[in-house]
Symmetry: D2
Subunit: 362 residues, 4 copies
């Protein structure tokens, strides 16, 4: 109820503040006998960690995951898998200036109003540092899904006004290679270079910018998703909207689809190699809230990072007008690191829905 | 888990198929001593019911709500409020042609794959008829919220390529009057007329079209929404994405906000009549997943209705190619009736979050 | 959260007051393609209904179940099964004397304190009439479990100071026949007769008496129950303690087992027809909270019905001392009718746990 | 769903195995601004820890709690409080003999059947070591309840055939002093000495014995507990039955009450110092599942510890007959250490119900 858990059968609960002793997660409901590849979990965390490139924050944290429970001789035992990631590079004094001031478009004011107290250091619980715990948990979900033949791929498809062209998605492995070959994490190289230059320029101006991430989930069997309220895309939408800075979610044809006519938008069923498929996929792999076996596709919009390296007017805790300066080490654009968070949340949703479908389907 | 419930503390569970005996809902968790105005519940259902105008389905159902429990001498008792809406105008034979065929972009195929059985009459459980139950429950939530000084207003802000201009939202009552004065349910009259003509034209062509609904929630105190996973906008997003035909959700600046820079996007805090406000509201009233006291704003995208009055290729249950004809009485565009569904789901989210905040805040 | 739902994957939500229009239940999560035998559901309700014999209340209600949804051509569809049982024989005026008075050891006072309002007629929501909805839902769970080879048998093993001897449980069908041959619902005929005479005597004295029900669940595979908090016996215990008038629950050796030594109490593993069994079953079929394949056994204690046909001192709503007279038609002893409620709740627990184990076990 | 969480609004999730790196707990939903007294948490853990006296296990663990999150400058912030307790005195080799054998009346067999894998060292997740995490979480719940004027007191009221007399409960502080003055943790000193001698004797015989714990909760306002399924005593019952080795739960008059008549058992309402009270308290402070303001009383039965220092016949994983010897360092009787676990679980239930009642009561 207090909002720090996600999922029902494959359920995670995260904890930790930006400048506390550690952050972490309990994964409760991972099936037993799954190979828990710790190196894979770490490699996922490395893709999210700060300090990766010139277009991410220069903060350095190794984000080393320690598994405390739930794994025996390399395999999941069915009991809770607890993972702790100690906090390292904390410069809490960087934040003393906000102890008493509300940063614009941050959560300082709302946490203060909600709880009557807040750990202001680094944004406390509202910091995107919390998402490292999700990435660790998502890595476990991915290990489970891989065994079930399910792949998840996300990349940066837009930064500011820059839009990547549609990429050929027939070979996800090759797309992943292209994505990992550039620091923008865009699967189209020309666009990636444009994005990198743009973000770097924005950064030099002490400003930040938003962006978009597109995702493909392949190999999901037909039948996942629980109507009426827990439709597969509603669960994906909630998962994505729970990520820091996300302001929008669309699947399949999305907002653009709301401009189309039914005669254009309907996905005609046919067969391909004896498998039921649709000729188009405006449904984004989900019909009536349930997967139909086609690729699941969705897009997520991230606003610009709120911390900018400029002076801004604001209020202090007493309600008086004051000025706040941009300090600390922050990302000029969050999407290159957020790609792995989007994948992690998608993996958690699919794992949870897969277990539900296993429960009910005789 | 099976997906027919929504909310935690203010929780609803709906039941019923399009052509079964009845649909209905249990509202569990409505606080006691709320005046349950049955006429208001009925008036809300009347705004959603079929057969309202030339641009909605011509199917006729009175959608009369019967309260079976939880109300004593006009007041809620704190026990479950059960509401039943009998089904009336069922022409199940209209659907015999789909007993064995999968309608394109409907849920026939996915329900069959999920459950191995389906009540094909009128789409069964996947029919948008289920949303009448949500409207009845939402009306109860609205009665509770009204007592708390919270108002919810939605209207049709787009149909196909037509976009309504931003409306002056200072007086929600007046906006509501304008909205209810036209069958498109758009708060801008000139645009409404354009929409009506357009939808009527689409209908005459045996086609359908999608649209968009914009919402304002006013009077929500700062502090609602549970970080990390149950952010207020994540709950609103899930609620909206659970409505039939919805393909996208954005709040505040939304997708457009992802094209902006931080220096433009940040909402500067200031005071107005001794109240903390922000100069702009790109945050849509929510920061860090928690309400900040400003208007909560979001937009929802609906795809075109999948049933068109044309022949379409498809598969039958045996996987053979066949043709399906458009039959039955269907909406050419769903958004005029969906306005009230969007409001209902928004009310349910806010009521639930309000109770949570009451629980935790000392 | 508001307490009217039970179970996670096989989940029920009940509604209704004693003297409202109807009571009922939504079963959400029944797997699809289960034969829903309406005659069986009715026969279960008939075993619980009032007016069965001279030792039950003389109130008459047919308790006719109407299925409103979730069943198509005799089979469950996987969507919510809604059942409504109209209220019939209401003599609300029998209760006008308690509108303003708190009946001793009833829920009048606590409902008033909790909600600030109460439907006093027949006890409102606190009436054991609510359990009819559980019996209907439990019947559906039994139909599912039967298909899985699981049987549930309960009988009255004690009334007041009378204790039935241990019965030979090798043939549950024969035990059931004996139980149904007498109005005390005890599987030992001699004891049954003693109980009947005793209850009838108590009734003639305007008094009531408590009793005990013993249960055997057979055919449960090893592996059901979720440690740590949702142990199989903890779920059974909660289920039983949620039945009106229950004051105690024990499984396996129970309270008596707490007087034994480990060397006596340990159940030694051995094999029987190539199946792992234990020589004794002090564990009651559950070890570490998980079923071990042996019979699951537990006992439930019911206090005496609080409504007695005598004058009692009490307080009125203003807090003044007053006298209340026993009126209405009530059971002198609740256990003969409660047998079927105990079975229903046990069925709901096992069905829920079975679905969970299916979800997790690869 | 996987069973490692307890509570809804005040919710805990525990993790960890007996011989893993650590055990621990996340408390999600503790209200903000509660003083988190770490010394108190540690003192509670010290009452549960092994090695306290000659009648507990001689295993030594300091059970030092480390708070990783959710506390800022000594106060709860409303975010998850994560507590880790490192494992220290592990002699995993003590358990190599059970890697392949099922200990009688332990969870070895059922975990193997449920998960197809088990961490056999020290019983893994099924070890009562997990309850240290509950005690830490329960300490936080107690700190919250103390602020609300609620006290919880439990003591050993029975060991084997020994029963303590009813103790005068007017002064809980004095009872607590007596309880803590003896290693049996019985509030009656004469009985305590009898128990100590008895347990020591049992231990010398390489045997174990069960016992009973009685609890009083004082200061709970009327109105807590959610009918119908989440009755206050049903929640307490589930909480207690979830503790290792518990085989029975009764509240108020309990099993003995089922032998009484209504005319004896009914608790007559009257007033005392202008407060509504009952003359007797057979209801155990709970009527209709809701607290009535009187002391809440219940009793819990623990079976004898399954590990005895004797040879026992059993099966190995291949299903072959074998012999197992008692090794390791174990408690001859679990109840003296379990007193604090019972209190912790009771505190968690009351804290959760208190938050619920705050949410709903206008």
């Amino acid at each position: 109820m207090a909002g720090n858990s996600f999922g029902d059968l494959f359920r995670i609960t995260t904890f930790g503040e930006s400048h506390g002793k550690a952050i972490g997660v309990i994964v409760d409901g991972c099936p037993s006998n799954i190979d828990i590849d710790e190196a894979f979990i770490q490699s996922e965390l490395d893709k999210r960690k700060p300090g990766q490139s010139k277009i991410t924050t220069q903060r350095k944290e190794s984000d080393t995951a320690q598994i405390l429970s739930g794994v025996f001789e390399g395999k999941s035992t069915g009991t809770p898998i607890s993972i702790v990631i100690p906090n390292e590079d904390q410069r809490s004094k960087d934040y003393s200036h906000i102890a008493d001031k509300f940063r614009p478009s941050h959560a300082d004011y709302t946490y203060q109003m909600k709880y009557g107290i807040r750990d202001y250091r680094g944004g406390g619980r509202s910091s995107a540092r919390e998402t490292a715990a999700r990435v660790a948990a998502g890595a476990i979900a991915k290990l489970f899904l891989k065994q079930q033949g399910i792949e998840i791929f996300a990349h940066v498809s837009g930064v500011g006004q820059i839009e990547a062209p549609n990429v050929d998605s027939s070979d996800l492995k090759s797309l992943l290679e292209t994505r990992e070959s550039n620091i923008a994490r865009c699967a189209d190289l020309a666009t990636a270079n444009e994005m990198i230059d743009f973000i770097d320029n924005v950064r030099k101006n002490g400003d930040t910018v938003g962006g978009r991430i597109s995702t493909i989930i392949r190999g999901v069997p037909a039948g996942l998703g629980e109507p009426v309220f827990d439709r597969l895309h509603a669960e994906l939408g909630k998962a994505m909207l729970s990520i820091n800075a996300v302001h929008g979610f669309e699947y399949g044809s999305g907002f653009e689809g709301s401009r189309m006519r039914g005669s254009e938008h309907n996905d005609i069923f046919t067969t391909e190699n004896d498998k039921v498929v649709t000729r188009t996929n405006f449904s984004g792999g989900i019909q009536g809230g349930i997967s139909n076996g086609m690729d699941i596709t969705f897009k997520v919009a991230f606003k610009a990072v709120a911390t900018i390296m400029r002076d801004q007017e604001t209020l202090n805790q007493a309600g008086e007008e004051t000025t706040i300066s941009g300090k600390g080490r922050h990302d000029p654009c969050v999407v290159p690191r957020a790609v792995i968070i989007v994948e992690a949340m998608a993996a958690l949703v699919i794992a949870d829905q897969l277990l539900k479908q296993r429960a009910y389907r005789m």
